[in-house]
């Protein structure tokens, strides 16, 4: 009883990747605890029983994997591929044989024998030069973890088996874990690692459960059955809140839900200010089936269809038909008036990518996005062919990421022209009206925006990379992340410059970075003259409401005021104060009060 009382309330800050507030019991999924005990066996019978125990664990592991595969079912976009490979490893006679031999010849327990087998493979894979193939040791290690778990008799470590209605806490979650969450009753989750663009974050948003990641040590601080509050909107986790705090959060949660409902009801209303200024609102989506949720959240179109998922988790490259299938689904979704498909942006901090790229010293500035496409032209052409063919079905744009100079976009245009020729020769139709745009996310592209504007039909500003490159801060380096300021005077000027260059050339300028979906910056971006904003579907209702409740002249006035500031924090504070006072319901509150209490 006393022990209950002295549980300390702890506030952890991370990155809110999927909005919503939930409080409940924690369930800590800790795979790192599965350690192999080492001991010797004596007697022939004991050794044979150990072999039996190992084989039983293999069977159970296989059943587990088959179970996951079945749950995923047919037609899933992600998942079953890596499971097949894992099952095959489980059945590999060399792998099983060497472990059984280890048990028998060394008279050691199954865990020890298995870890010896894994070490042997680790040594062998170490020698492989090809970075991708070298990385496949991960498949073996993952399989071994499953077997270790089954050897330890712990049946609670699969997502499928954990109790209902818990808040999942983990160091990290694998693709298999997150995919299964779709079918499970997990209220929310929090992890030590991860970023907004990580796999788990994307899935959390897709299935709409609150999530906070990047908490560094949440899996150590929280114990199973602790009460936790997850605020996936502002990225906090409160561990062992006192009753009053829980009450306050319950209140906040109710409030949040009521507001969410109202917002969603109003989501279909037009994005027009009181003085008649209109901004196109698009959704950023990752999977083709998110297009439906984009429409229900009030998007007019898809401003950014990230196509990386078509490649990710696939051991083999997607075919033209696979590409086509996804594009056609998005373009033909009811209520989608236009769809902008971004050609794939792999490399950098984007999950698997072509693992041959992963070894780069500075991947964000490395061989990625359009640079990779221009090197692997055959691969690029497959995607372009599919987009062109699908563009017959509706208003479509192709968006090229990471353009840094005119020569790149010209090269891309040549390739598109070639593909069009090929399609023409084959008698395959493609949309004549398809528009070509580029992402403005490299400082050089801003400087020559006037030249680039002559080459394309539209711009879309990618603020995440633009901020990172222009302020020279690595987004994933927490030692400098305090410098990551969307309202830095330099960033505001860069955006302004791009908008002006685009408008002078008569093309539209949109924004599809995280900044576009942050309610704090809605008026700032409107005042800077952007024609369109594209964001995660969940952010749309708020942004539209802010627009409907303000005027364009108010936003230009705000811009006049903040362009006079010299320091980033002055702008940030001014904008924050202005917006939280003007739209208290719609903009994030700060946590000062809470800090005092803890």
């Amino acid at each position: 009883m006393d022990q209950e009382k002295i549980k300390k309330t702890v506030l952890l800050r991370g990155i809110g990747v999927s909005p919503g507030i939930v409080s409940g019991k924690a369930y800590v999924l800790d795979r790192r605890d599965v350690k192999a005990l080492h001991y010797n066996l004596y007697g022939k019978d004991v050794i044979e029983r150990e072999v039996e125990r190992f084989r039983k664990a293999l069977d159970e592991s296989e059943k587990e994997l088959l179970n996951i595969k079945e749950r995923l079912g047919e037609g899933e976009e992600i998942g079953p591929l890596f499971i097949d490979v894992q099952i095959m490893i489980l059945r590999d006679e060399k792998f099983v044989g060497s472990t059984v031999r280890n048990i028998r010849s060394r008279s050691i327990n199954a865990e020890w024998a298995l870890s010896l087998s894994v070490s042997r493979y680790r040594e062998m894979f170490e020698k492989i030069e090809d970075a991708y193939l070298k990385g496949r040791i991960k498949d073996i290690e993952d399989v071994a973890q499953i077997v270790f778990r089954n050897l330890s008799g712990d049946t609670h470590e699969s997502i499928v088996d954990i109790p209902d209605r818990v808040i999942l806490i983990a160091h990290d979650l694998s693709p298999a874990d997150t995919v299964q969450m779709k079918t499970e009753k997990i209220l929310a989750f929090a992890t030590d690692v991860g970023s907004k663009t990580s796999h788990t974050a994307i899935i959390a948003r897709a299935i709409e459960i609150p999530a906070t990641v990047g908490l560094k040590n949440v899996s150590e601080v929280v114990k199973t059955n602790d009460i936790v509050i997850i605020d996936g909107t502002w990225g906090t986790v409160i561990v062992n809140p006192d009753p009053e705090l829980i009450k306050r959060y319950e209140e906040k949660r109710r409030h949040y839900h009521i507001m969410e409902e109202d917002l969603n009801k109003e989501a279909p209303l037009p994005s027009v200010t009181k003085d008649g200024h209109r901004i196109g609102i698009g959704a950023n989506i990752e999977f083709s089936d998110e297009a439906v949720s984009a429409v229900s959240h009030g998007a007019n179109g898809v401003g950014l269809f990230r196509t990386e998922f078509i490649y990710i988790n696939k051991e083999q490259l997607p075919t033209e038909e696979e590409h086509y299938y996804h594009y056609q689904r998005v373009i033909e979704t009811e209520g989608i008036k236009w769809a902008t498909i971004r050609t794939f942006d792999l490399g950098g901090d984007k999950f698997i990518s072509d693992p041959r790229l992963a070894e780069e010293m500075n991947p964000a500035m490395g061989l990625r996005a359009v640079r990779y496409c221009l090197r692997e032209i055959d691969l690029f052409k497959v995607q372009i062919r599919a987009i062109l063919r699908a563009s017959v079905l509706g208003n479509t744009g192709i968006l090229i990421p990471m353009i840094s100079g005119v020569e790149e976009i010209r090269h891309v245009k040549e390739i598109i022209a070639e593909v069009k020729d090929e399609l023409k020769k084959e008698g395959k139709p493609y949309g004549e009206g398809i528009k070509l745009g580029i992402m403005i996310e490299v400082p050089s592209a801003v400087v020559i925006a006037d030249l680039l504007a002559r080459e394309v039909d539209f711009f879309s500003i990618g603020t995440n990379d633009l901020i990172q490159y222009s302020l020279a801060i690595d987004r994933v380096n927490e030692r400098v992340d305090y410098l990551y300021k969307p309202c830095h005077p330099a960033i505001l000027r860069l955006i302004k410059q791009v908008v002006e260059a685009g408008h002078r050339a008569g093309i539209k300028v949109a924004m599809c970075g995280e900044m576009a979906g942050d309610p704090l910056y809605a008026l700032v971006l409107m005042g800077l003259g952007l024609d369109g904003l594209s964001m995660t579907p969940l952010a749309i209702p708020r942004i539209k409401k802010i627009m409907r409740e303000s005027t364009y002249s108010e936003s230009t006035e705000l811009i006049q005021n903040i362009l006079g500031f010299m320091e980033a924090h002055e702008v940030e504070e001014y904008v924050r104060d202005y917006m939280t006072e003007r739209f208290p319901e719609l903009c994030p509150v700060n946590y000062e009060g809470l800090n005092e209490r803890i």
Binding site: F82, D84, E93, Q316, L317
Partner: protein
């Protein structure tokens, strides 16, 4: 019957896990004993891990051996798979 043929891998990622899994499936389907060889190292055609540790990126030259009554049919299936780049492009 004993068959032996040389191939050059043309698919983008070489003998990665998924492709290795396909090869294992073919090897296990036939009665013939199948092995793969690269740079003098020969491995069992039914072991996915053996095949992965051969480390064959795009452009690797490999030798496939098949010994048994249906060696000919097995070899033809391998040839087709490799020729079609494992259905990847």
């Amino acid at each position: 019957m004993r068959k032996e043929e040389n191939f050059t891998l043309k698919n983008e990622l070489g003998l990665h896990a998924r492709v290795a899994a396909m090869l294992v499936n073919v090897s296990s389907k036939y009665d013939a004993r199948i092995s793969f060889e690269k740079d003098g190292i020969e491995v069992d055609g039914t072991s996915i891990l053996d095949i992965l540790t051969l480390a064959c990126p795009k452009g690797s030259n490999i030798t496939i051996r098949a010994e048994g009554t249906d060696a000919d049919r097995a070899m033809k299936e391998f040839a087709r798979l490799i020729e079609n780049k494992f259905g990847e492009d």
